[in-house]
Subunit: 103 residues, 2 copies
């Protein structure tokens, strides 16, 4: 199993706007082959920003990479540039392999 | 829903040892009230270390905090000091509230 995470530094005072952008977007993720679950997470408040993290589980790295090359991905990210003022810095992308699971 | 994450900087060459410590530990997490799921994630390789992240979902922040005060928590972390040479730096703890979920 594969996990893609993005860490977002959202400027203080723009948290509601950031959450609205995500909640109002029709990502069609559920229909993407290999997609498992997505969480948007609100984290700690640091100097000047609130940390948010997106956490997406995929059946495999290959499924994730196929999605990044798809039309669905392009559409979901088409308007990303409109909201640049929300962020203190660029998102930080990190990917992971699941080595242990307890549930 | 609440998520607790820890980021670990594991010295290069100690990855197998780090994973063994986690896999061989009897955490009894499944029996803890409010526990949902746990993932241990192997991430990118940086200069001098491999990033690992633990990702634990709880029904609420209160359930997580009750666990940190429990005997089960104390037992699970009793031997943490034995493995200090594995790490380049202290683990970085961050907690999150789930603001959106797709699954």
């Amino acid at each position: 199993m594969f996990v893609a995470m993005n860490r977002f530094q959202v400027r203080r005072g723009h948290e509601a706007e950031f959450e609205h952008v995500w909640k109002s977007r029709d990502s069609h993720l559920k229909e993407v082959p290999g997609f498992l679950t997505f969480h948007l997470l609100r984290g700690p408040e640091y100097e000047g920003y609130t940390l948010y993290t997106s956490y997406t589980q995929w059946r495999s790295r290959e499924a994730f990479e196929a999605w990044t090359r798809s039309e669905a991905f392009r559409k979901a990210h088409a308007n990303a540039g409109e909201h640049k003022h929300i962020y203190l810095d660029s998102p930080q992308f990190e990917s992971f392999e699941v080595v242990q699971e307890i549930s």
